[in-house]
């Protein structure tokens, strides 16, 4: 389960500006445990890592050319996934019915989380953290998909544990090459 962090230690570190150094390994441990829960489809336990006011979004990416300048934008209005805790719980319920055919049997997945950087402290008890990930999905015979991207999280210290309060998942594809997105990142 989630790594326990001593609250006093956390607050002191935040105050002293040693956030990145003092927290990276604690945040990494948290992410590694989280990845394990996702790979094991222990999704009820995963839901417990989210704050009740969590917002989880995966925006679409768009190649735009404006007057000669070309960029791949992250949309702020259109999403591949846009959920609050209720919606994420519904997704878990869906899988629990045993009738969610796109995940029957469950895919074999591996979430690799890397390049973890603690960016800043917000409001005394929240960290903004960025990380990169590769989520590999192998399914049935030889179906395989890679979901690759970066995550921008807000982690909130709650009773000495991290909880995910915000997650923005930015995938590196404008056209998703997978037929669907049945797993979370």
């Amino acid at each position: 389960m989630a790594s326990t962090v001593q609250k006093d230690e956390a607050l002191n570190a935040i105050k002293s500006g040693e956030v990145a150094d003092n927290f990276r390994s604690a945040v990494e441990n948290f992410y590694f445990e989280e990845a394990d829960l996702l790979d094991q489809f222990r999704l009820r336990d995963w839901l417990a890592l989210l704050t009740d006011d969590v917002i989880y979004r995966i925006p679409i990416r768009v190649n735009r050319t404006d007057r000669g300048r070309s960029v791949t934008e992250v949309s702020d209005t259109d999403m591949l996934l846009d959920e609050d805790k209720r919606g994420l719980t519904q997704r878990v319920v869906r899988l629990e019915t045993g009738r969610a055919w796109a995940e029957e049997p469950r895919s074999r997945t591996r979430h690799l989380v890397t390049n973890v950087r603690v960016r800043s402290v917000v409001g005394g008890n929240e960290l903004t953290v960025s990380s990169n990930f590769i989520a590999y999905r192998n399914r049935l015979e030889i179906e395989q998909d890679f979901y690759v991207g970066t995550r921008e999280d807000v982690l909130r210290l709650d009773a000495g544990r991290f909880k995910i309060a915000r997650r923005l998942v930015i995938l590196d594809q404008t056209v998703l090459t997978a037929k669907n997105m049945t797993i979370l990142f």
Partner: protein, 427 residues
Amino acid sequence: MAVQLDSLVQGEGSIVSRELFWRPDIYELELERIFAKSWAFLCHESQIPNKGDFFSTYIGEDSVLVVRQADGSIRAFLNVCRHRGMKISTADEGNVRSFTCTYHGWTFDLGGALVSVPNIEKSFNGRLRTEDWSLQPVSKLENYRGLIFGNFDPEAVSLKEYLGDMALYLDLLLDREGGTEVYGGVQKWRVQTNWKIPAENFVTDGMHLAPTHTAAVLALAPEEFDVTKVPGFGTSTYFTSTGHGGVVNDADAESQRRGLNAMLGPALAEYYYGLAERLRPKYGAMASYVHNIGSATIFPNFSWLAGRQTLRVWHPKGPQETEVWTWTLVNSECSEELKKQQRRTSVQTFGPSGIFEQDDAENWSQCTATMRGYVGRKLTMPYLAGQDNGDAKHPGKTLSAGNGGASEGAGRSFYRHWLQVMTSRGR
């Protein structure tokens, strides 16, 4: 190579060979006879509001740019430089003064005219007449209540004639005070399936709703549904003689209202019920279509879901590959809150992560995978449901009733029309 098609669609569209969804020669012929000659949905006008705005899409496998002109009109042309065929824009969308090819620097204006070629006099000595090498235009463009359609065939019938009785259903989707607009951008993803499989699903397939989507229904409203009773409702289909059509849900009014509530949330669901009342003087009983949990396809590959307001194009990418593009359509008269809710629910239910569509993609890709086998692809598939119920003429449609079960009447019509278009030699 001669393709013998007549034997592949039999019994007035009720028996269809699986070779339609596999053979590369049939696919090639579809690009020529269907996609290069049909009206294609390109984009919503709200996506390109300003001069120089453009949106990049496809008609069949042809890359097409839709461009807002200086005078406010819209033009569309092939995204192919006339010199060596480089794409003149590799962007999904944007805003430009002109399009300059990155290969040899040929520049085309917003209307597609070739306006400059580097060093033209020294290189060509007058042999290159720029007026001969404009971008290839999409021959016909029409704006139907904000939806931009294009057709490469200069001989094509008007969009109104092409839609025929299906126009009524587009009207019920689009006829809104203040019009409609696209909220956000376009979701795009690849499904390893033939384009006709999802197009057919949206035109006729009410039969899959309960078996495929039980998990999604239970997730949205577990307290509302007894799982043993989910498969209990029926669907009818409506269709024109030109391949268009859709599914209407025959569930009783109370079940439908609960279903829409669960999918859209009470506020948005109530908006649609109120909208139906406002449309009733003009459309009569048909006004209830705005909250019916059904689907529709305009031949060949443009589909939508009423109420859920998701538009989609099934772009063909080879015989066994489809790129799905979806838009969320909102009514301009709605509050920002309702628009956001519309977009949120359409992403939650449909699209690559949609709790309904995830399972569709699974089924469609597996249906396609089983065609790899020589024996499996020689099989035929039945579109027999509802055949004995008789097709009744209703205002604006032919209805193939489900009579409590499901009807595949619009599917039969889809494949009858497919065969007719594919076997018409020229015009």
